[in-house]
């Protein structure tokens, strides 16, 4: 598989509002939301970006779509450097790369009918009007809303959450993109309809050969939809491998804790304490060395002095930990 996306040393640092004492001392604290990640995604791959809130997964997704500019590193999309694309090339990129939002209730203009919501991207992209009906119909079939006449004249408030999220997905697919980023696509939906959306996503990927990144904190969901799982911790990738491998044989201590923390619908599940200390929100990324060391039960001297690099443990499965 030729890589569709190649990110090298990508960084996104945000300036933080300074405290008065920091202004006096002339300090400029920064939030290293994404701090040097390398990520290569092959054409047709489905990658789950997994991590807790604040780990930088959403920022990474936005960087891949050029919705925000990296403060360091490069991202190539189909061989083109995203830092350089502008004008017509940027417009082409925008058609090829689409985003599915977390909250379907906010993602559609409440004053637009579903027909208009779906046609808007086609108009923006300058697709000939003769193709509109066909493309919209195909997109609606793909998300399993085949009864298009029943939806076109309706407004978002007349649809259920599950139907709305299908429309949002259809809108993202109507331009036949090559690349899709979905940020927590089902977390706002009820359990009984989630499964339907997840199945549609699996189908869409299989039939369109779409390259996709799903951003989620839900391990089970990522495993269900994505062939590959990438685990992030405080702006870094700590583990990367085939989803089944990562779940069944997690290598990084953080991934191990994550797997163990996922609740399962079984009363006889393990209630052993998690092999992790503190919480992410309290954890300041320690300077130098491994970022996870303050919370890691296995940390030793080397973790403080030397940053662990991603190493291949078994073919296709990489992790960044000195213990491996």
């Amino acid at each position: 598989m030729a890589p569709l996306i190649a990110a090298r040393g990508v960084e996104k640092h945000f300036p933080v509002t300074r405290k008065f004492s920091e202004v006096l001392r002339g300090e400029r604290p920064i939030n290293r939301a994404v701090d040097g990640i390398d990520l290569t995604i092959g054409e047709g791959e489905t990658v789950g970006l997994l991590g807790e809130s604040g780990c930088g997964k959403t920022t990474t997704g936005r960087l891949l779509l050029k919705l925000t500019q990296p403060t360091g590193g490069t991202i190539q999309f189909a061989g083109e450097d995203l830092n350089q694309v502008k004008g017509p090339a940027l417009k082409r990129f925008r058609q090829q790369a689409q985003l599915v939002f977390q909250n379907p209730f906010d993602a559609l203009n409440p004053r637009f009918t579903i027909f208009r919501a779906l046609r808007e991207p086609l108009l923006n992209a300058g697709i000939p009007e003769t193709e509109h009906a066909d493309r919209m119909w195909t997109a609606m079939r793909r998300v399993r809303l085949p009864d298009v006449d029943a939806y076109y004249d309706r407004y978002p408030h007349q649809l259920s959450g599950g139907q709305l999220q299908r429309v949002v997905l259809a809108r993202a697919l109507v331009l036949e993109p090559r690349f899709l980023v979905a940020d927590e696509p089902v977390s706002m939906l009820d359990v009984s309809v989630r499964a339907g959306i997840l199945n549609v996503m699996r189908d869409v990927h299989a039939t369109m050969g779409l390259t996709a990144v799903y951003i989620s904190h839900d391990f089970a969901l990522v495993r269900y939809v994505c062939a590959r799982t990438v685990v992030m911790y405080l702006g870094k990738i700590v583990e990367d491998g085939p989803s089944a491998e990562v779940v069944e044989r997690p290598q990084h201590p953080y991934t191990k804790a994550l797997v163990q923390a996922v609740p399962v619908p079984d009363v006889n599940q393990s209630r052993a304490p998690l092999p992790i200390k503190g919480s992410l929100s309290q954890a300041q990324a320690p300077q130098g060395g491994c970022r996870f060391r303050d919370r890691c039960p296995y940390a030793f001297e080397r973790c403080a002095s030397e940053e662990p690099l991603m190493r291949e443990i078994v073919p296709g499965h990489k992790a960044a930990c000195h213990l491996l």
């Binding site: 359990v191 089970a220 609740p263």
Partner: protein, 334 residues
């Protein structure tokens, strides 16, 4: 011995389009020292139920019937003033988003002390001591009592909300999606703290959630709600192992599994009925793969089934066979 007995509770909301029957005759017991998980989708009435027990309902809502027996006293018959007197002292509440129970302009310590002084009748010094004790109990550093809520992380706020709820040693705690907004690792840590306190203090708890996994992890008994009614109830282990209602069977199939290949997920097609004109017969009939003509004519009563649980399904006698069918994806795809 039950701490709370919910008997045929009905709660109605006035809306522009008519009266919405959010809770339609729900009955269940909360045994002393146990955690009762109430599960269901949004709109099933689980939060309305919690608010009715707390006596904090919006102006458009009213209790249209039924009883809430707490220690032998019917909460429905109490005046708002008597009800308010019981809040926090007898019945405490942990909300989904702790930001909603913490006032952003006061220090967290001040807010806990206020409950202890105003409602618990403590003096300032003992309130302060008790606040430190409470923070200790929920695993927070007592130094953080001086902080404002926005200085806390989500997990810490939730712990603070638990500390507040336990401040006056209530008999019953109602927790509405207490960990839903948290990341999995913190979710687990908060649940573990809560479970530990619950068993040490012998608390009775109503745990409201949409997540069957949280129920499996933390509750002794489970009540499944659908369209304002209790459709299945019993010991958690029994109900999860042998569900008798097709909706419960379907909920189980709709969750992705972490381990194993999990097979194909199966959604429950359709949407719950409109509660302004609820069906008089089985509310799940339109979405049920096992529906029969009589399901659309007769209201299924909540009855004991052979596992010792209660279920409201006319075909619960055939549940063993239906359970096998419900395990196959093709049953649900129509």
């Amino acid at each position: 011995m039950s701490v709370l007995s919910v008997q045929d509770l009905k709660v109605h909301y006035r809306t522009d389009r008519g009266v919405a029957q959010a809770v339609r005759g729900a009955s269940f017991e909360v045994p002393e020292g146990q955690v009762v998980g109430v599960v269901g989708e949004s709109g099933c009435g689980k939060t309305t139920l919690a608010r009715a027990i707390m006596g904090v309902m919006p102006k458009t809502a009213s209790i249209a019937g039924g009883k809430l027996l707490f220690d032998g006293v019917d909460l429905v018959s109490l005046s708002p003033k008597d009800l308010a007197a019981r809040r926090w002292r007898d019945i405490a509440f942990i909300p989904q988003s702790a930001m909603n129970s913490l006032d952003p302009v006061y220090r967290v310590g001040t807010q806990i002390a206020e409950i202890l002084i105003e409602r618990g009748g403590m003096d300032k010094a003992s309130a302060k001591r008790r606040a430190v004790e409470l923070f200790d109990m929920v695993g927070l550093d007592a130094g953080r009592l001086r902080d404002f809520p926005h200085q806390y992380s989500g997990g810490m706020r939730q712990r603070a909300a638990i500390a507040m709820a336990l401040a006056l040693e209530p008999k019953l705690v109602i927790a509405d999606e207490p960990v839903t907004a948290l990341d999995v690792i913190i979710q687990r840590q908060v649940l573990d703290t809560f479970k530990d306190l619950q068993s040490r203090l012998g608390l009775s708890v109503i745990l409201i959630t949409h997540d069957i996994s949280v129920v499996a992890y933390a509750s002794d008994r489970v009540v499944v709600m659908y369209a304002g009614e209790v459709i299945e109830a019993g010991a958690t282990a029994e109900v999860l192992k042998r569900p008798f209602h097709p909706y419960t069977m379907g909920l189980y199939k709709a969750f992705p599994e972490l381990h194993g290949d999990g097979g194909t997920l199966v959604p429950i097609e359709g949407t719950p009925p409109n509660l302004i004109h609820p069906p008089s017969a089985c509310a799940f009939a339109d979405r049920c793969p096992f529906v029969e003509q009589r399901c659309r004519e007769v209201h299924p009563p909540l009855e004991p089934v052979e596992s010792g649980s209660l279920a409201a399904c006319l075909r619960s006698g055939e549940a063993d066979r239906l359970r096998v069918l419900a395990g196959e994806a093709s049953t649900w795809l129509r």
